[in-house]
């Protein structure tokens, strides 16, 4: 699955180049991408892909290789979907060419999906990757609009587990579903409490 996308930026190619070679700035231009750690040109992070009701979260690592003389960078990354839906491997090439005080940028995204998401036979993936490339371009442009002196944004802190307030959904009588128990997905400890409480409830009196 190869998608190419060209656009131009109102900035000198040297300034664009500065952003490109910094994983912290360039990777987060990809919608849904977040970095956990960066060492030199290697990085680890996550990529959340949302497609209508479908949501996938890939976790993996990648490298950014810069080729200054060719004014080109290559991002190669691969990751595993956090809920066993398969794997993803992508290479993104960003090629700069100066055009007066503006910079022509051509982005090539080559995405290989394995597992359930790949089984969407109806050409949806081409669209997803095309939109991905479009948003990447906008964000790259936006990140350039900020003054270069601005310290590269600290690598976004890994999103903690949303600590849902226990009775948030307790909407009172109207909620037919009995909110007895906090709903945690796959977190072993809470599930253990669930079991214990349920034992308690079975023996207790039945209430509405």
């Amino acid at each position: 699955m190869k998608i190419d996308h060209e656009f131009t930026i109102d900035a000198a190619s040297s300034r664009v180049w500065e952003v490109l070679i910094d994983p912290a700035r360039v990777v987060t231009c990809l919608p849904g991408a977040s970095l956990d750690s960066v060492e030199g040109d290697a990085f680890e992070g996550r990529m959340a892909v949302k497609l209508g009701p479908m949501s996938l979260t890939y976790r993996g690592k990648g490298t950014l290789t810069a080729e200054p003389e060719a004014q080109r960078i290559l991002i190669a990354g691969s990751g595993t979907e956090q809920r066993g839906a398969g794997t993803a491997a992508a290479t993104i090439t960003v090629q700069l060419s100066a055009a007066a005080d503006r910079t022509a940028v051509s982005v090539g995204i080559d995405l290989d999906l394995a597992g359930k998401p790949a089984q969407f036979g109806r050409g949806i993936l081409a669209e997803v990757v095309t939109r991905l490339a479009g948003v990447f371009a906008q964000r790259l442009e936006a990140s350039l609009a900020e003054s270069p002196a601005v310290e590269a944004r600290a690598a976004t802190a890994p999103a903690e587990e949303a600590d849902d307030a226990l009775d948030l959904l307790g909407l009172g009588r109207a909620v037919i579903a009995r909110r007895l128990l906090p709903i945690a997905v796959g977190v072993a400890t809470i599930a253990a409490i669930t079991l214990a409480v349920r034992q308690l409830r079975r023996s207790g009196s039945r209430h509405a």
């Binding site: 037919i176 579903a177 009995r178 007895l180 128990l181 945690a184 669930t194």
Partner: protein, 190 residues
């Protein structure tokens, strides 16, 4: 001859597995004329509720994607895919499955027509066809071949090649005689 069973006792649904993480809900609905009270977890599919909690295994599961039609049941007399509904959504509803079609010894006219026209071979897709056609037989408007094909269009059968099924449907619904003619009148099942 009196029935030894306690008819007022509604069929007892087995409970969800203890370690089910989804919240549990109390539901009460009517299944094949019987009041049913049950506890179900949020995510339990209606197809699994009928098959594994009420032991009504006449409803079959072929795809769990809404594509094959084997899981079709009637909710408030309307045919729907039970694999695309949650059991909890049946609270307060009237559910009819294939086990609810025959009246004692007498098969429903649609069932009878399937037997007469070799409308089944392995029988796995049959309950789905029967529910859709039973609802169609109860429908006030007369039914023509086009509508009949639209109604059964979403039911997949891999054994019969559909000829027997279409013939059975035509006869049960009183649609113009098929190639071998059919003597059944579309008697509605009260």
């Amino acid at each position: 001859m009196s029935d030894p069973r306690n008819m007022s006792a509604a069929p007892q649904a087995t409970a969800p597995p203890l370690s089910e993480p989804s919240a549990w809900h109390d539901i009460s609905c009517v299944v094949n004329g019987h009041e049913v009270d049950a506890q179900v977890e949020s995510r339990l599919l209606l197809s699994d509720f009928l098959r594994h909690r009420l032991a009504l295994t006449g409803t079959h599961v072929g795809c769990e994607q809404g594509s094959c039609g084997a899981c079709t049941v009637l909710i408030d007399r309307v045919p729907v895919r039970s694999c695309l509904m949650l059991a909890v959504q049946c609270d307060g509803r009237d559910v009819v499955t294939v086990e609810g079609l025959a009246a004692g010894d007498d098969l429903h006219p649609v069932q009878e027509s399937f037997r007469a026209h070799h409308g089944l071979q392995c029988g796995f897709c049959t309950p789905g066809f029967l529910m859709t056609l039973a609802a169609l037989a109860d429908d006030a408007e007369p039914c023509d071949e086009e509508r009949m094909l639209d109604e059964i269009g979403g039911h997949l059968c891999r054994c019969t090649g559909y000829l027997g099924i279409r013939e059975a449907a035509r006869c049960a619904l009183g649609i113009a005689a098929g190639p071998d003619g059919c003597d059944h009148t579309g008697v509605r099942h009260e």
